[in-house]
């Protein structure tokens, strides 16, 4: 009897501790890794090619009633970049592209998230933040679309960047007639119910 009582209280105690911990963390949303995507669309000789970052971690703490308190960050695993061909995947990790061994992570940290003027409440936000790729940080801003489907929240963002401002594609690859300077990063984040 005694041991069972101890066991039950242990579980209750741990549950209470867990609840308190998550309350202290202001309940960040859980992200469904299988449904979320981060991709980059670039143009080579005017041909749009979309490639996926297979591994990334999104931390998002968002309550549409209090967007001022929202926090969001994305950490992208550079070696997980997939162009659909193992040879090319290895090439773009080289020094003149991502320099994946020295800079294995790209990060985005949101600064402000403000409701977009004119958009229906809770549907669109203007996000600013800092994007770091290949060791270079720049200020970026982009519109964030938010949808609710049942208990699931969906965040969609499109962020155009200039690859040369991050030194992606050095040497002969600086030629923007081969690979355009503008690259569009797209993310689609789906939370778990």
């Amino acid at each position: 009897m005694t041991s069972r009582f101890t066991f039950t209280s242990l579980i209750l105690g741990s549950l209470a501790a867990l609840t308190m911990t998550s309350a202290a963390m202001a309940a960040p949303l859980k992200v469904d890794a299988n449904k979320s995507t981060v991709t980059a669309v670039f143009k080579q000789l005017n041909v749009p090619v979309e490639a996926k970052f297979k591994k990334f971690v999104v931390q998002i703490d968002f309550d549409s009633t209090k967007p001022d308190h929202a926090k969001a960050s994305v950490e992208i695993d550079i070696p997980s970049f997939d162009l659909g061909d193992p040879e090319y995947n290895a090439e773009v990790l080289k020094k003149e592209w991502f320099n994946g061994s020295q800079f294995p992570k790209a990060t985005f940290v949101a600064g402000t998230i403000k409701p977009s003027a004119g958009a229906p409440a809770g549907s669109k936000y203007d996000v600013t933040g800092k994007l770091t790729i290949k060791g270079k940080t720049t200020d970026v801003q982009f519109p964030l679309l938010v949808k609710k489907e049942g208990n699931v929240q969906i965040f969609d963002g499109t962020l155009p960047i200039k690859r040369l401002s991050f030194n992606i594609g050095e040497g002969e690859w600086k030629d923007t007639s081969m690979v355009a300077d503008e690259v569009v990063i797209k993310f689609h984040v789906v939370t778990t119910p």
């Binding site: 080579q44 000789l45 005017n46 041909v47 749009p48 090619v49 979309e50 490639a51 659909g84 061909d85 040879e87 090319y88 090439e91 773009v92 002969e172 690859w173 030629d175 081969m178 690979v179």
Partner: protein, 174 residues
Amino acid sequence: MKRYTLPAIFLHWIIALLIISAFIIGLTMVDIPGLTPTKLKYFSWHKWLGVTVLGFACLRLLWRLSHPAPAYPAYMPRWQQSAAHGLHGLLYLLIFAIPISGYFYTLSAGVPVVYLGLFPMPVFMAPNPELKPLLKLVHYWLNMTLLAAFCLHVLAALKHQFIDRDGVFKRILP
């Protein structure tokens, strides 16, 4: 001896030229290791050539259907005439099948064709990593078939010109 019509002669030689260029660029580009601007350029040129071949092939088929080829000399053995028809049929099939297989191969790789870097061509299928190796194989073997058919075609033409001296080859000369 009756010759081919001028448009047929033009289409024959322009397609031959385009195919030979695409074939050489194709073999060269896949041998370039890694990723270089030249390699990307060659891939694009190869695709543009392929699309051009397909366009001319369509015109050529339409022309051929409305303008029969001049008859072979009556003394040419029946089996040779059948062999020639068979080989020409195969070549016609390949000038469609090869660009189409290449087109779907690049679509399966997620790289659509933008003709001359200006005109986006239709995307009939989503990137498909499962189909990609199969389409690559199909594209490769269709080309090897074309290479064999091309050699027979040239050898037969040379035989008519220099051994038989029957004027069959002259029907297609500009």
